[in-house]
Symmetry: C2
Subunit: 635 residues, 2 copies
């Protein structure tokens, strides 16, 4: 499983996910765009199940992984073909880009060896954002890729309209034109910096599958570069759709370079963290010039979306004074401190249009940060939070004026009865720009289990319309997540996102549930494991009590033993009670009606006849359909 790449210090997990194989599906448009998916083959003649795959080449046995070289830049030709970018010499990396102490060359990893000297940006006067193309009516290969990726097996599935999408407009089938239209309207984004051509395009929007983000990154007191790269690969293996590098410690520039060059998923950052490092950690010393320089630095590296806390305005800071937990966003507290210290409006707010100019030159998406999100149940849905949200709505429209893609970050800690208000207000304030929430946690009292308290809130807000759920790990509030925490966080959020897709009625979402449940009923244990979000854990748990290989085909498990297995009993009965019998005793509309004495007598006679048949047929409770034919209804 854990293949350490022997040539380098940085080891990552490669190889297929158990029971799955990588497939490349050509887009219907015939444009040559090929979309990576994962196919799970089943036993017993059951059709294979195709699932969304975020894991990139790491799970492809045919791919050569070289962490020092980075991934293949498949998207580069699409970018160059548009003819609207220019190559230029990248800004030189300064020692302080790696923190106050500079890069840690002796103790850490080396700089990424394959850094591009030349980087791309829009030609003067050009705008290379997907939103800009979409608004020109252009369907990009990125949009085609997304359309095919979102459909999965949707074409093969009978339309399922079972769900409540709370007003979303989920299509029966996703066409490239649908994707283009969603991007143009700002209802979805495809975050992909032109300097991150290693990405497999993905969309974040209310009418697409719910996505999840995994946060990684070091801090001043923990973590190192190699383990962050490993966590990135590990998190996408289990389903992270995007990854945020939230590093705040040393080697911040180098860490990001290693991550981006090896990431097939969009990478997000919070540039203010690095900017703060550059001014020695003194929030008051932050300037627009230093921040702008940091944006350029990260834009050239290929960061796909920036969290910008431009909604933390000076007048909102005092609104947080009476809160139980004040300001819990790191970026928010930094900006609040800056605003109060200078008694000036935030430079992020004041320079917003200038930031947007940079974003459009690289196609970086905004993730407008909720610096004033509530950090406790007590502070949920308060004045400060919603004041900021409406400002984010105002900024969304300003970004859209320059055709720059935007999503909006959301809370935080919110009790269940206040979750929907967050979604409703966000849709109203931000013109349906995608919502990207952290949890929310539905109670404060379970540190150590906050992946679960937040998973509860995430599933709900995902159902209500949140487009991407930012994971929370078991270590939330307690420490930096390790590899195991990352996996638990990702799987928890993957199941929450899938639960949301099911409840919204995504046409193909239920295919996997049905296939797994059918495998369960048929005692195809290996299929059940392979269809799971985490096949390794499912099999391991099964084997803890019944490790023998034969138990993988047994018609029971350790929960009930052979005699009490309800599924086994039901299987014995299955065929016998075919449809004609269903009508015989009691039509469904009569269920609640009392049975008259005469009817009861009639039914009894029928039942006795059926009982005889049962004994004649060797006490097999569900017979094959052809054997049932002769039995006929009881009356």
């Amino acid at each position: 499983m854990a293949d350490i790449n022997s040539k380098f210090d940085i080891g990552v997990t490669t190889g297929p996910i158990r029971g799955s194989r990588k497939v490349q599906i050509g887009a219907k448009s015939g444009s040559g765009v090929r979309v990576a998916m994962r196919e799970i083959d089943l036993e017993g003649g059951e059709p294979s199940v195709r699932v969304y795959d975020t894991s990139g080449p790491y799970t492809d046995p045919d791919a050569t992984i070289d962490i020092r070289a980075g991934l293949e830049q498949k998207r580069r030709e699409w970018i160059m073909a548009r003819g609207d970018v220019e190559e230029y010499t990248a800004r030189e990396v300064k020692p302080e880009d790696n923190g106050q102490l500079g890069p840690d060359r002796s103790g850490g990893v080396p700089a990424f060896p394959n850094v591009a000297k030349k980087v791309l940006r829009a030609k003067p006067g050009m705008n290379v954002s997907q939103m800009h193309y979409a608004r020109q009516g252009i369907i990009t290969p990125e949009m085609e890729y997304v359309a095919e990726r979102e459909n999965l097996g949707r074409e093969q599935v009978r339309r399922e309209l079972d769900g409540n999408s709370w007003g979303a407009e989920i299509p029966e089938y996703v066409t490239p034109e649908f994707v283009r239209d969603e991007i143009a309207r700002g209802r979805a984004i495809i975050p992909n910096n032109i300097n991150h051509p290693e990405t497999e395009p993905m969309a974040i929007g209310r009418n697409f599958l719910v996505k999840i983000n995994a946060n990684i990154g070091n801090s001043a007191v923990a973590s190192d570069v190699a383990s962050e790269v490993d966590k990135m690969v590990w998190s996408i293996r289990w389903g992270a759709d995007t990854v945020m590098d939230l590093s705040t410690g040393r080697n911040i520039h180098d860490t990001r370079e290693w991550i981006i060059r090896n990431s097939p998923v969009p990478i997000g950052t919070v540039p203010i963290y690095q900017a703060l490092e550059k001014v020695g950690g003194i929030a008051e010393d932050l300037t627009w010039e230093i921040f702008r320089d940091t944006l350029i630095e990260q834009a050239e590296q290929g960061v796909d979306y920036f969290t910008i806390h431009a909604g933390v305005r000076l007048p909102y800071v005092p609104m947080t004074a009476k809160r139980v937990t004040g300001i819990v966003s790191r970026g928010g507290s930094i900006m609040a401190k800056w605003c109060l210290a200078h008694h000036k409006e935030s430079f992020l707010y004041e320079r917003f249009d200038e930031i947007t100019e940079i974003m459009k030159a690289y196609d970086i998406a905004y993730s407008l940060g909720d610096g004033l999100r509530p950090g406790s149940i007590a502070d949920a849905n308060d004045e400060a939070q919603f004041a900021e949200l409406y400002t984010l709505g105002e900024l969304t429209k300003r970004a859209w004026e320059q055709d720059v893609q935007v999503m909006i970050e959301g809370p935080g800690h919110v009790p269940m009865h206040k979750i929907k208000e967050n979604m409703d207000k966000q849709l109203e304030a931000c013109g349906e720009a995608p919502f990207y929430t952290l949890g929310p946690l539905v109670t404060d009292i379970a540190p150590g289990y906050d992946h679960i308290t937040s998973g509860i809130g995430a599933a709900q807000i995902g159902w209500y319309g949140t487009a991407m759920l930012c994971y929370v790990t078991p270590k939330e509030h307690l420490g930096l997540p390790d590899r195991d925490d990352v996996k638990v966080g990702v799987v928890t959020y993957k199941l929450a996102a899938h639960a949301a897709d099911l409840a919204k009625g995504h046409p193909a979402a239920k295919v996997r549930d049905d296939a797994l449940s059918k495998a369960r009923f048929d005692f195809r244990w290996r299929d059940q494991f392979n269809l799971s979000l985490d096949p390794d854990t499912a099999e391991q748990y099964h084997d803890q009590t019944l490790p023998a290989e034969g138990a993988k085909t047994a018609h029971f498990c350790s929960m009930c033993g052979p005699k009490f297995c309800s599924m086994k009993i039901t299987q014995e009965v299955r065929e016998f009670a075919a449809k004609q019998n269903s009508d015989s005793y009691l039509a469904s509309e009569n269920i609640k009606r009392e049975t008259s004495a005469e009817e009861a007598e009639e039914a009894r006679a029928g039942m006795e006849k059926m009982s005889e048949v049962y004994r004649e047929k060797g006490e097999q409770l569900y017979l094959p359909e052809d054997e049932v034919d002769g039995v006929g209804p009881a009356q």
Copy 2:
């Protein structure tokens, strides 16, 4: 921590939960009823927090625990004082009561050494159910106990009406009369068999705190008696309000005796499991006589509630034929098999009033089983499920005619958008009898994580009105839970139940959240751990990255390190932005309004003044309130 009771084979965990002490609170009525609670003392002059305590004497350092003797029978004097019970010689235990092979005396544990020869039942013509007393207008000590227990610190708390209870009638303060009325109306139950006088009374009802149940019990292929007793004590330590012994293997009678005699919480069972053992596992051979004998056997032992699958009627069985997962309830599949084999209506349904006669003689509550609950997303809310539910409603009314307490079991596997329909239909069909649901699981695709998929559904249905949530462990669908799984399941459900209480607006629920969040903001790490549902895990996770004792008082953790801690930054700022400043820049209603040039100039002047003050005051961002007074508004 794990104190093995050295005299016996059965070891259980005793001693206080970290950071808590046991308190006994006298009921307000002055009747002498004393209610056990857990008190968490805090640092920094913060008031202690009182929490609901299910752990019984095991966490009381003053209690002597002797597993061979069983717990003190505190409730016996209340029972005897009512003068409506008689002692009689218990039914003799037969070898087959312990399974087909009889008791396993050599390999297992001995029979419980302290079995009562005489047991209690109602005198002829009497009815000893709490519902019967309630309907006579009698407030029992059990009702007084429950009232005090439910209130917790409610009296001390300013009324909080923040919540949406979906039509529940949660009182500001729980009086014994309120409890009596809820029991009389059938909206709540107090399950406590007169032969289980070791219980600390608790209520299950929509207007009380949401409760959780933990399932334990062996199967034919796994588990043993000692570990089941240990799991019972372990599950109540972490918050299980009731425990179901679902044993199906050998030693079934003895296991139950050990569990009941040592349980301070109500114990539920599914008697059909044992009855099936008595007929060699052949469902068709079950008879009313054998089932009745089993009910008496378990009634005399002290089982507090029986799951009876009396709603699995013959005509409903064919409705399950087209399901993806058929019948997944063990009891449901047994009864379905019996019904089809005999082609007769279920004897549980036909003999329902006779069963009720037994229930009222011991005060056993019904848990009307949902034998046709859906076992997959595909089968949720189908005809079979709701046909059974309406029958359960009919049976509820029949039980109530004899003043017997009832709760109703519910699903299962249900996607989020179909959860509320379950609650709405249950309230309608079953006259507001308490709902007791398993999960529901909101997706089928995450075996190994089904405590989470079900916790998501449980929190929601708890919010909508479910009175008790039956836990699901990580081993669901895969194997029998071990001790660690039991704890994870209990804590997951405790947080789901608490999230539901918060969302419903239970007056005192938020006290613990607020105390924990305040501790978090104040960097009182030990208080944060102690206020957690699982203090051991919270501290362990913290210590994995910052193990030093000094880190327990540090104003940061490994997540962000000292420089980036938002809470630390906010604390620095806190006092400075006192209320008067809040008004100075922008009234909240003007937030979305554009600022005119003149206003902007005026504001800028004010800000510059404030900036000077900030520098004068030593760049401390939040000043004590008295120092702020001189500063005044900026304009």
